[in-house]
């Protein structure tokens, strides 16, 4: 019995050593790995993460990264057409998803371990030996053009607003175009551009392979060995230009026929998750505008107290909603920005709500986080972040993000640091990194010209309520908000016809509005 126990311990220790040696190992090749073996789990999640994104698009060829990488995930391999791959994938409920951001692109899939071998044999060839067929190129390129010309401008105003904000913040900057490019640049892309881009960027030094779940021990070695056939190169470290802060309030109004106004505003900030001040600023942002939570102060003031719209939130980094309302992973960036997202509201109340959001930001900066909200917000973040890693994809995703920003485990680090943060540190971070006088503001609305006049003239903007008995304190505050001065110079407001966006790089000029 004793012998058997000793044997068990020995096996366990050996297993442990093997596991430790497998985790986070930098292999002989230039490929990095993130491994998360979970023996009993019936699923396996695989991610191929490239430190390449739309910021690497050559000038004039904006959208090339997205088109190239979608040709891998939806364009077939040398061995199989995309149609054949769809038919092989279907019975095993398999996909190869692709997400692209400014500096990171991820191919990922989740598969039942019964089907791992079959699935991997297909995706390996999709990524290592892409088919690059002309018909797939035309199909995907047409999809991207349709999205830029029709869908983004006409069918998704909330996203449209966020994209305009991006154009404003990152003018003359590698982040300053939509990931899909511009209509002009996408039209100019050729299949040879795609092939060359793939050859130069899908290389070992740019690649991290992540595997999580119930995969066999030898699987990770096989994947690493297969992908070591890639060229060993690496895209040189990206040196981004300094971010440009606006001077004063800069507004772009996209004019279209719509009953509702969408607003996004913000400015670049100098820190990311890797900076020690991030945690204090995170507490402030969570209190001020936690994504789709009642905790959000903006949500309370604009929606709960006044019923103006569906929600109002604030962020201290680029935010994409993942499963549920949790942040999606693997959108890592060297440079980040602060933003406020005002969801669509009646055109008649647009001026009032814009004033209210900026005034609330001013109050936050001048008065700091209220003491009674401070401890509550800290508890919230400590507990809420425990829900971030429920799926294999999330666990692996956070592991990758932790590495990117220089942590062993970012969420654990946060839960360790947040309890120790003092309110003075939060308020100091607010004052250091946030401001309300220098903002980029993107607005989608109708009658842009008359709104511009109201903004420049600081026209009072009273609102009415269907509730005849609104609380006195709210009505008193409304009197202040409706007169709250926004110092906007006429030359800092650009009005543009909505359909003129994304044709070329940057914010279009006002010429089209004058012509109409």
């Amino acid at each position: 019995m004793k012998k058997r126990n000793r044997y068990k311990i020995l096996v366990f220790v050996l297993g442990l050593i093997l596991l430790i040696s497998a985790c986070g190992k930098k292999p002989a090749s230039n490929i990095s790995t993130e491994l998360l073996p979970l023996e009993d789990n019936p699923l396996v999640c695989i991610k191929f993460i490239l430190n390449v994104g739309s910021a690497d698009d050559p000038a004039g060829k904006e959208g090339l990264s997205a088109l190239t990488f979608r040709m891998l995930s939806e364009g077939g391999s040398e061995e199989y057409t995309y149609k054949e791959i769809s038919q092989i994938f279907y019975p095993i409920a398999a996909y190869l998803d692709m997400q692209i951001d400014k500096e990171m692109t991820v191919f990922s899939g989740i598969i039942h371990k019964d089907n791992l071998e079959k699935y991997y044999s297909i995706i390996k060839n999709m990524l290592l030996n892409p088919g690059f067929r002309e018909e797939d190129f035309i199909r995907i390129k047409t999809d991207h053009l349709n999205f830029l010309q029709k869908t983004l401008v006409n069918n998704m105003d909330e996203q449209f607003g966020k994209e305009i904000l991006n154009l404003m913040m990152y003018s003359e900057h590698p982040y300053g175009h939509n990931e899909l490019g511009t209509v002009k640049s996408v039209k100019s892309l050729t299949l040879d551009d795609v092939k060359n881009y793939y050859e130069n960027h899908f290389v070992q030094g740019n690649l991290t392979i992540g595997i999580a779940g119930g995969y066999p021990a030898e699987f990770s070695k096989k994947v690493l060995s297969d992908f070591s056939a890639l060229p060993p190169g690496k895209t040189p470290e990206r040196t981004l230009p300094e971010q440009q802060m606006p001077e004063g309030l800069h507004i772009v109004i996209a004019d279209k026929n719509t009953p509702a106004t969408a607003i996004s505003m913000g400015f670049p900030i100098s820190i990311t998750k890797s900076h020690p001040d991030f945690f204090a600023l995170w507490i402030a942002a969570s209190h001020f505008g936690e994504h789709r939570q009642h905790l959000s102060h903006l949500f309370q003031k604009i929606r709960e107290e006044r019923g103006q719209n569906y929600g109002d939130y604030a962020y201290i980094e680029h935010f994409i909603e993942g499963r549920g309302k949790f942040p999606a992973t693997n959108y890592c960036r060297q440079q980040q920005y602060f933003s406020i997202w005002i969801r669509p509201l009646s055109n008649s109340n647009r001026h009032f709500v814009l004033r209210q959001a900026i005034r609330e930001l001013k109050i936050l900066i001048e008065e700091g986080i209220p003491e009674e909200r401070f401890e509550l917000t800290k508890k919230y973040l400590i507990n809420y972040t425990k829900l971030y890693t429920q799926t294999l994809d999330e666990r692996l995703g956070w592991q990758v993000d932790s590495r990117y920003y220089g942590y062993k485990d970012f969420l654990e680090e946060a839960r360790e640091r947040i309890p120790k943060i003092k309110i003075e540190e939060v308020n100091a971070a607010i004052k250091k990194y946030l401001n309300y006088k220098n903002l980029y503001i993107a607005i989608i609305t109708q009658d842009a010209g008359s709104f511009k006049e109201d903004l420049v003239a600081n026209t009072p903007s009273p609102i009415t309520y269907s509730n005849p008995n609104m609380p006195e304190d709210i009505l008193r505050e409304d009197l202040i908000i409706q007169e709250f001065p926004l110092d906007i110079k006429p030359e800092n407001i650009t009005t543009v016809k909505a359909e003129d966006f994304f044709k070329e790089a940057g914010v279009p000029s006002e010429d089209s509005m004058r012509a109409s």
Binding site: L16, C23, G24, K25, L36, P37, D40, P42, L43, S86, F89, Y90, P91, I92, A93, H112, N115, I138, R139, T142, D143, N146, Q149, K150, T151, V153, N154, N155, M156, N257, A260, R292, Q293, H294, R303, R306, G307, Q308, K325, R343, P344, S346, L376, K379, Y380, N383, Y384, K386, L387, Q390, T391, K408, E412, Y465, S466, N467, P468, N469, K497, E499
Partner: protein, 447 residues
């Protein structure tokens, strides 16, 4: 650095829970069902996956229950009112409770039900959650002013998707296809009814009395807790909830006697869209109709289907094609949707959809194709059941339909038994010209 990550990996390895997919039942976990004397159904699925508990309250009332004129969207509106707190725990205190808990929380409203969930970490918090949620459902308090302030939020929610042509197509389709049944309107409701919501204080009280009652509700709990302890808490805190004994009688939709069609002109540019719909069967885990049509939808219109491959991949006429066959308590629409690249191709795509349906009426599906679909469905379900909250989300849907979590196993048994002949018969029964409604949408010129 390596050491710490590996420690985390080892811990996670022990924390993961087994999923035995290929047992006789596709739903691999033990489910326990209890019914309180007041009619409240409790569905409990204790899991070994640590920390996380998903606590769902399912009220079997959705837009299906909006049978009176002018009340479309009311179930969804009432979902919003359910966050207004009670005299014991006013809204601010309720919000603070959830904030401190760090819970993932929200509600959603569907055609047939409204679901409220609190997902949180730590079994030590279970009693507080049961107590707070019970108080909210039994003692909800709001006055007319609070209702009038909340009502415009719904209009804001309507505006959030006002630029989405897919939603407009969907609204038009349901309005055209249904004559009497409350599935005629969407969950969000007609804009004119939304704008009248500030005046519906009295009706809101009636609505609560009728539907927010234990005999119309289910508590579904999945995760890391002790079952006996859960039941003890639920009996303690929900025992005083009074049943309503209200019986909803939804209008019966008369058989459609002739084909319908409609076109919506979208202001501004957009990709053209088409929806071809048929009145179909209600959900059943006993009758073959809906199960057979679910399989047909997959065979005929999924990404691997011949029609998708031809129109999307080869001819490149469409951006996407998909079927929407929702499971509903009353007969819903079975809809085939396509997003088309050029407006002039709309008639061609419509013709191709009808031709495809004719094919399935005339030819039995090959056995091997049918087996592929069954395999896809099982593996797709396995992915959804990979987490505590994923499991709760799947179960919430099925218990809303029948109150019985075993419905999911019975449904998959039905899929297993379905033959090519069953599918052919159902195609012949439902996909008739006179039972069809076609709605198209296309954009205008640049403004």
């Amino acid at each position: 650095m390596v050491k710490n990550i590996c420690t985390a990996s080892i811990v996670l390895a022990f924390l993961s829970f087994p999923l035995v997919l290929w047992s006789s039942d596709v739903f691999p976990y033990d489910t326990r069902i209890e019914k309180l004397e007041n009619g409240l159904t409790v569905v409990s699925v204790p899991l070994k996956n640590p920390h996380i508990i998903s606590y769902y309250t399912i009220v079997r009332s959705g837009s299906r229950n909006e049978i009176e004129p002018g009340k479309s969207g009311f179930a969804h509106f009432f979902e919003h009112m359910m966050f207004k707190g009670t005299k014991n725990i006013p809204r601010e205190k309720y919000d603070d409770f959830l904030t401190e808990l760090g819970a993932g929380t929200n509600g959603y409203t569907s055609d047939d039900y409204t679901c409220y969930f609190v997902v949180f970490a730590g079994r030590e918090n279970l009693e507080k959650v049961v107590k707070t949620e019970a108080d909210r459902f039994i003692n909800l308090y709001y006055n007319e002013e609070m209702l009038k302030t909340e009502a415009p939020v719904i209009e804001g929610e309507y505006y959030s998707s006002v630029s989405n042509p897919g939603r407009r197509l969907y609204e038009t389709l349901r309005h055209e296809a249904f004559e009497k049944h409350s599935y005629k309107h969407t969950t969000l409701g007609y804009l004119e009814d939304i704008q009248d919501m500030p005046n519906q204080f009295e009706y809101s009280k009636l609505y609560k009395k009728r539907f927010y009652a234990p005999d119309n509700s289910i508590i579904l709990v999945v995760g890391d807790y002790d079952h006996e302890q859960l039941i003890e808490y639920i009996k303690k805190y929900y025992g005083v909830w009074e049943p309503s004994n209200y019986e909803l009688i939804t209008p019966v939709e008369p058989p459609q006697e002739k084909a319908k069609r409609s076109h919506y002109k979208w202001p501004g540019q957009t990709m053209p869209r088409i929806a071809v719909a048929f009145h179909g069967p209600a959900f059943s885990d006993e009758k073959i109709d809906k199960a057979a049509l679910d399989l047909l939808a997959e065979i005929g219109f999924s990404r691997s289907s011949p029609l998708y491959q031809r129109l999307v991949i080869e001819e490149q006429k469409c951006l996407s094609i998909y079927a929407d066959f929702p499971d509903r308590r009353d007969p819903p629409l079975l809809t085939f949707n396509a997003v088309v690249k050029q407006e002039e191709d709309l008639p061609y795509v419509e013709q191709e959809i009808f031709t495809e349906l004719e094919y399935y009426k005339n030819e039995p599906i090959p056995e091997d194709k049918l087996e592929e679909v069954k395999s896809n469905m099982k593996y797709s379900l396995a992915r959804q059941l990979g987490t505590t909250d994923g499991t709760a989300g799947v179960l919430a849907f099925y218990v809303n339909l029948t109150t019985d979590p075993n419905s999911i196993n019975r449904l998959f048994d039905l899929y297993q038994k379905t033959t090519p002949q069953n599918i052919q018969e159902m195609a012949q029964k439902y996909f008739t010209k006179k039972n069809s409604t076609v709605v198209t949408l296309s954009g205008g010129e640049e403004q």
